[in-house]
């Protein structure tokens, strides 16, 4: 298997309106990376738009969720010999200008690098409830993993070669962002956070409500505690 440098994995579900521009922007700004769009069972032309703009496309036959989408991207990277994977969202909220910082961390030997919205860059604004939820989860995850984590739910992150192979084989079921941090910490992988900039979404709206946020926080806390007591 030949070793390729870097792969950007874009998770997309019904993003036909903006996936093309996101892929095109990434290919222009970061030509050294291959771009893979994981189309998670979209019912629109997401896959075709991405392919037209030069991305490689992995289409799930039906919607499997974010965790499975990330796992598919890492499985693809592992099978095709990629050294680094940067995971981003297909809606264009993650700014390509932040990718070099993530890549630098990976090149310095870090296996899991988290793009943090709260580590120094003030581009991201959210409600007080979401801030409280984030701080609670950040505290819990930092305690359980022995690493200072400020943004436990960030989907903008990078994986090194060991992490790619590990998470292609074993991957969290439901909440990949915080759970994988704890799994990586328990594997002894080097973990780092770098500040990243978030942009407003081009299309669609957030489906989170206060009740959903509170329930999410409870479920993630439970999942983290379960992960902590599993055998390594």
């Amino acid at each position: 298997m030949d070793t390729r440098q870097g792969l950007i994995v874009l998770l997309a579900f019904n993003e036909e309106e903006c996936i093309g521009s996101t892929v095109a922007e990434l290919r222009e700004a970061l030509p050294e990376f291959d771009v893979l769009v994981v189309d998670d069972g979209s019912r629109d032309a997401t896959a075709q738009r991405a392919r037209d703009c030069g991305a490689r496309v992995l289409s799930h036959p039906f919607n499997l969720g974010v965790a499975a989408g990330e796992a598919s991207g890492l499985l693809f990277a592992s099978r095709n010999g990629y050294e680094h994977v940067i995971r981003m969202d297909g809606d264009g909220q993650h700014d390509p200008a932040s990718v070099p910082a993530l890549r630098e961390a990976l090149q310095s030997g870090v296996e899991l690098v988290i793009g943090s919205r709260f580590a120094g860059v003030t581009s991201f604004r959210s409600t007080w409830l979401r801030r409280f939820g984030n701080q609670f989860l950040a505290g819990l995850l930092s305690t359980l993993s022995n690493h200072r984590i400020t943004d436990p739910t960030s989907g903008f992150r990078g994986f090194g070669p060991q992490a790619i192979r590990f998470f292609a084989r074993v991957h969290p079921h439901d909440y990949p962002e915080p759970e994988s941090v704890l799994m990586a910490a328990r594997q002894g992988f080097a973990i780092a956070e770098v500040p990243v900039r978030m942009r407003p979404r081009l299309t669609g709206t957030s489906s989170l409500t206060p009740w959903k946020s509170a329930f999410y926080m409870a479920k993630v806390s439970f999942a983290l505690l379960m992960e902590r007591v599993r055998p390594v």
Binding site: S21, A24, C53, H60, F62, A71, L202
Partner: protein
């Protein structure tokens, strides 16, 4: 035979018939069929052996015999449902993995087919549109 015993036996027989009918149509697996038939036999047995419930309750230290029956029935049902939830979780994992393998194979096949045709260049207009949307 008491009327309640008759009702119990008739219910057990109807349940066993339904289970066997489903098995005949290959709608249930043999091990599940066997487990449900055992349940039907237990219902029929307790319906015919009237003192059986009292004996069970005494053995369990329960004063009110029907409570013992409810406890046993609920325990059996919970165990069955729990087993089923474990199987659902296993099958969910297998289904997810299968879908991922299908996606990987389909992608490889599409890329092989596309190699014969030139890949289109980056769509400049799409990049421009993206920049415009974030311009202040």
């Amino acid at each position: 035979m008491l009327r309640s015993s008759l009702i119990g036996v008739a219910f057990a027989a109807a349940f066993a018939f339904s289970v066997l009918w489903s098995a005949r149509g290959r709608r249930t697996s043999e091990r599940h069929t066997f487990a449900w038939l055992l349940v039907a036999v237990a219902i029929a047995g307790l319906s015919l052996w009237r003192q059986g419930i009292d004996a069970l309750a005494t053995a369990m230290g329960i004063y009110y015999a029907p409570s013992a029956l409810f406890f046993i029935a609920l325990t059996c049902l919970m165990w069955l449902v729990y087993r089923l939830s474990l199987q659902v979780a296993d099958q969910r994992q297998q289904l997810k993995r299968l879908a991922q393998e299908v996606a990987l194979l389909t992608s490889a096949e599409a890329e092989r087919a596309a190699r014969a045709q030139p890949r289109p260049e980056v769509v400049s207009s799409a990049v421009a549109a993206r920049r415009d949307s974030h311009a202040v």
